[in-house]
Amino acid sequence: MALKTEEMILNMGPQHPSTHGVLRLELQLEGEIISNVIPHIGYLHRCFEKHAEAMTYPQVIPYTDRMDYLAAMYNEFGYVLAVERLMGIEVPERVEYIRVIMGELQRIASHLVALGTYGADIGAFTPFLYCFRDREKILHLFEITCGARLLYNYIWIGGVSQDLHPDFIRLTRDFIKEFRPNIKELNDLLSYNQIFIDRTANVAALSKETAINYGITGPNLRASGVKWDLRKNDSYSIYDRFDYEIPVGSGERGKTGDCWDRYIIRVREMEESLKIIEQAIEQIPGGDVTSAIPKRVKPPAGQIYTRVENPRGELGYFIISDGSLNPYRIKVRAPSFVNLSVMGELCKGWMVADVVAILGSIDIVLGEIDR
């Protein structure tokens, strides 16, 4: 037999109800205690970077969608920002606003999935469905705008593909109105449930230093008590025009940076995003959205690293252009890719059940990890 030692190796995934896709975790157990976790990734390696080298700049956008398919809008956002900076394009006001609105809606949608699946991992299935119910409304907003539910190819270099749908503003207002109470409901049902807190609070607390050294970003970093959000600290687009809070983990229910913090940060971020959207749809100016779209996208030779605060953290595009129509090299700094790498450290000394909780709280998207 392969294993005569006292350790047991337990496979989680690639097919596993709660590995959020095709991640494979190799757990080394002693009793039910984890002595080591080895993530095996690449089951969804779709060769994005190779494709990017074979495409023209606009054609890459559909592929960026497919990396983090839960936050497609934001991937496009980041990519087009990079290319625009490379080419020095100024986009119209309206476009900026549209992008921000879309981005924040996407953030809410993505967090909803994260929270829902997290609930399902912990064993509460109902919140999962409530979250998806609310998410459907956001998807509808996207759908009326660009016709797709999940992968939009909406934000283009220098603009957006089409202007907002006439009803968009009204529907968004309605959505915000009916979504606020649902957040409270979610809290009643899940966030403050004693069992849920027992399961998540104090579990796998991630210290500031470790987080930074591992390059953790986004909600996970903030949960560890670092007030670091690119929308404020390295502001891009027009985020500096809105006022909103950056929720930071404070260890209300346990240690700072434990699973519960990571969870609740997302809940609060949704509220903040709602604020941003509200302000944006108040201020949004008129104007043409496709005027700045260049006929031929042909940036000068050079390299650039541009990053945005995607729902999962810092999404960076490192683009090298050789002055031709195709990018010479695109390297994506995927937040989940980096966040997942801390998994091994976090899980040590916890139990199988906790692995699920920890993984869910890190909130990964495999499409983005494997690209």
Partner: protein, 357 residues
């Protein structure tokens, strides 16, 4: 008594007993499970703003039947690494263990499988079979998830058996009987005679007992939940960790057996709770039959009330399941040893004191 009637009818006790043995199986358990599974799906669906099965028959009433027939046709896989004998035997053991409990459950004044004197203890005893069966299944599957799940299930069931036993002991002390039939007979006529309201005989004692009984009910209900592995105690089948616990490797009809056993268990525990605290088959307020003078009606009413009570507790179980997250295994154990057992203990001591004063 159906039994006597059957005896005259068939002329032989054995045959009568056999028929009686099959009665609850065919005319209660199977239909009940079919309904309960559907109900579970419907209840969960409506709690989640869904509809649940809709297309198989009117509002999906035939869904579970379809499931059953489908399971009949599913290939039955015995992985080459399995211990075939035990693997095949485990479902039998589990089902028998959970079904045998029904022998002592008084469905109504007229129908009770066997008025065995030690009914309560007997039911506790046969659950031991289930534990053994689960361990067997888990071990025979030769699969990590199954084995872990089985160990968890066994540990969980046995530890929660203690509070259950203690509370049962309390009830025994107060009522002075272990016979489920007499137990239900005692709490007759009106609902304030139910144990939850301090039992039949009046006086100071009754009112002292009420809070204890409430507490006791809470404890035993939680423990029973744990014994049938329902959320929040469904760690053995925690599908987000151990794929589906000790029946991961089972397919087709054998899996169906586990399924049947689970739901049979659900009803069994609900029935026990109903008998212990809610007057078993007694109606909360007099009988139509008596008031109308139709004696024959009474047993049916009793049966009706019994089923209603059972179903109510099953509904509560479902309700909990679709509301709550799941404990972690160590928290589960801690909960048992640090909350349930001490509580049961205190209840037991105080109740004894009250009864002798």
């Amino acid at each position: 008594m159906i039994y006597d009637w059957l005896t005259e009818f068939t002329g032989s006790e054995i045959i009568a007993a056999f028929i009686q043995g099959w009665l609850p199986l065919l005319f209660f358990i199977l239909p009940f499970v079919l309904v309960a599974v559907l109900a579970e799906r419907k209840v969960s669906a409506h709690m989640q703003d869904r509809l649940g099965p809709m297309r198989v028959g009117y509002h999906g009433i035939l869904q579970t039947i379809a499931d059953l027939i489908k399971l009949l046709q599913k290939e039955d896989i015995i992985a080459s690494a399995n211990d075939k004998k035990l693997f095949n035997f485990a479902p039998v053991l589990v089902f028998v263990g959970s079904y045998a409990a029904f022998a002592a459950i008084p469905f109504s004044g007229a129908f009770i499988g066997s008025q065995i004197e030690l009914g309560l203890l007997y039911i506790v005893a046969v659950t031991g079979l289930v534990v053994a069966g689960i361990l067997m299944a888990g071990w025979a599957s030769n699969n990590k998830y199954s084995l872990l799940g089985a160990m968890r299930a066994a540990a969980q069931i046995i530890s929660y058996e203690i509070p259950t036993l203690l509370i049962i002991l309390t009830v025994i002390m107060i009522t002075g009987t272990v016979n489920l039939y007499t137990l239900s007979e005692m709490q007759t006529s009106y609902f304030w005679n139910w144990m939850i309201f301090g039992g039949p005989e009046f006086g100071l004692q009754k009112f002292l007992l009420i809070p204890l009984m409430m507490m006791g009910f809470l404890v035993i209900f939680i423990s029973m939940l744990a014994e049938v592995n329902r959320t929040p105690f469904d760690i053995p089948e925690a599908e987000s960790e151990l794929v589906s616990g000790f029946h991961t490797e089972y397919s087709g009809m054998k899996f169906a057996m586990f399924f049947l056993a689970e739901y049979a268990n659900m009803f069994a525990v609900s029935a026990i709770i109903a008998v212990l605290f809610f007057g078993g088959f007694q109606s909360p307020f007099g009988y139509l039959g008596n008031s109308l003078g139709w004696e024959w009606l009474v047993p049916f009413e009793q049966f009706f009330w019994f089923t209603v009570k059972g179903l109510f507790f099953i509904f509560v179980q479902m309700w909990l399941r679709w509301t709550l997250p799941r404990f972690r295994v160590d928290q589960l154990m801690a909960f048992c040893w640090k909350y349930m057992i001490p509580f049961a203990f205190v209840i037991l001591i105080i109740a004894g004191l009250i009864t002798v004063l």
